[in-house]
Symmetry: C2
Subunit: 313 residues, 2 copies
Amino acid sequence: MADDEFDRIRELAQRFKQDSGGVQLGIGDDAAVLRAQPQPVVLSVDAALQGVHFDPAFASYREIGARAFTAAVSDLAAMGSTPLAALCSLIVPGALPRADFSELNAGLAEAAEHYACPVIGGNLAAGPALSLTTTVVGTLARPGLYRSGAQPGDQVYVTGPLGSAALGLRLLQLGAAARSASFVQAFRAPGARIAQGRALAGLATSAIDISDGTLQDLGHICEASRLGAELELTRLPLAPGMRELALALGEDPVRLALQGGEDYELIYTLPAGVPDPCQGTRIGRMLDEPGPVRVLDAHGQPLALEGHGYRHF
Amino acid sequence: MADDEFDRIRELAQRFKQDSGGVQLGIGDDAAVLRAQPQPVVLSVDAALQGVHFDPAFASYREIGARAFTAAVSDLAAMGSTPLAALCSLIVPGALPRADFSELNAGLAEAAEHYACPVIGGNLAAGPALSLTTTVVGTLARPGLYRSGAQPGDQVYVTGPLGSAALGLRLLQLGAAARSASFVQAFRAPGARIAQGRALAGLATSAIDISDGTLQDLGHICEASRLGAELELTRLPLAPGMRELALALGEDPVRLALQGGEDYELIYTLPAGVPDPCQGTRIGRMLDEPGPVRVLDAHGQPLALEGHGYRHF
């Protein structure tokens, strides 16, 4: 199929572009915002599919449940929102053993408790492949974090190391998980940066969570803010030992850091001179000229990059 | 598999039973209710899967989209809630032609417009089978309609004819759709009873929408209200010509009316003497003694019934 995911999403967004009194922010960000008192209500939905987003060979059902929930909650983090409640819609093959089903639910419940985000509803259907679709609802105490507010000259930050989850997945795919539990853990049990998102609300000019890859997700900020961005390769934070382990596996650590998804760290922009409340790592800056994200090597030369991250079509 | 859907749902509900300040009503009804101003926020999620809830052989993609959206909105109707916004999460096989994808979206958009329920967010993923998971958000101007409020002696009503959608599906399965467009239409393009739900809010003691079948859905009211119910066979409203056409196809019209799902009519209970604002049909009454729904024939004798409606496991 020639047309790709973003083309289809653009079609959806165009189709659904509507004004409504109760809607403060519609399609096009990590979440939507509805007007409400005492605080606006933030809403997002995220789906995790077997064979696309997870593989029971690489994580337990408990981890799969927690991870699906975390990925959804991460969209609230990216908005500066505090989780309030969730709805879980499960499609479950009839052949899935009851014990695995229970583990899946245990994982969902653990994550719900961890994020103080109780599951208040859901749906259950039998289907050909396991999927978990999680709708999360949050509140917004301060002005939210949007993709669209970055300004030229803003500094680009990230809350934590990049590419760890991608390396963990690679270790699992290679049957080499024993070589580093911490990266495997980064893949299997990521965390949503709720506290960081809240701290950034009202300060950062834009934010997004890294689900599809640093380049692709920063690209969404660029697109929404109608700007470009420049990253400095030498500034990209890598977890201790990441570079060496990646190279030992024949993987390019830079590619993992730039294009590996599912770290769920936040990328955000702050005006120059504004102290970062999250003590993240500054990795680049926003540019006046719209265009693809540029990455400069140690000599200030732009890297040639292939592809941007995970795409569905 | 021996254990069934409701057993699994009970496990989920048990697992997720939590108290939280913002949650007015959690798992166990057609939708959840969050405390908010100026009005509580009602939330529900519903999934439609190819091969389970729809078959492109029996409806156009436009109808499939609109029907999935309507089924979700129907849960708001059953709560007495007014639709506010929706999130649509689609899993789409890569092989689905772009034109079909566009038709699906057109159906979602048409239903969203019809119910004044704009799509404000969503998710798109490639997967093995087409599915549409719709989260709907509504408001509640008056006390909501819950499954749990029915009282002994309350009269049981239904907003419209029963079994029409099931007969329509049967016509399609038999390749006999030409024999009655109205029943096929009842299956392909059902409507959510939003106005009726709103009119009943504050008056009816309980309500539910018929998605799985009259007996099964009234059974949910019985279970939540810890009561029984008795239906009178001769009172069940059937659309004109339904009985004759069903019999001509070798189908039992009573079985279709009692066990056929997806009519999306509302079943509701009113205290004896309270006039019905919806001018629905009174079909029975609530009984003191908890137990399965009883159906009385024209001589006041209980019918023997097999099965209750659609179950997923």
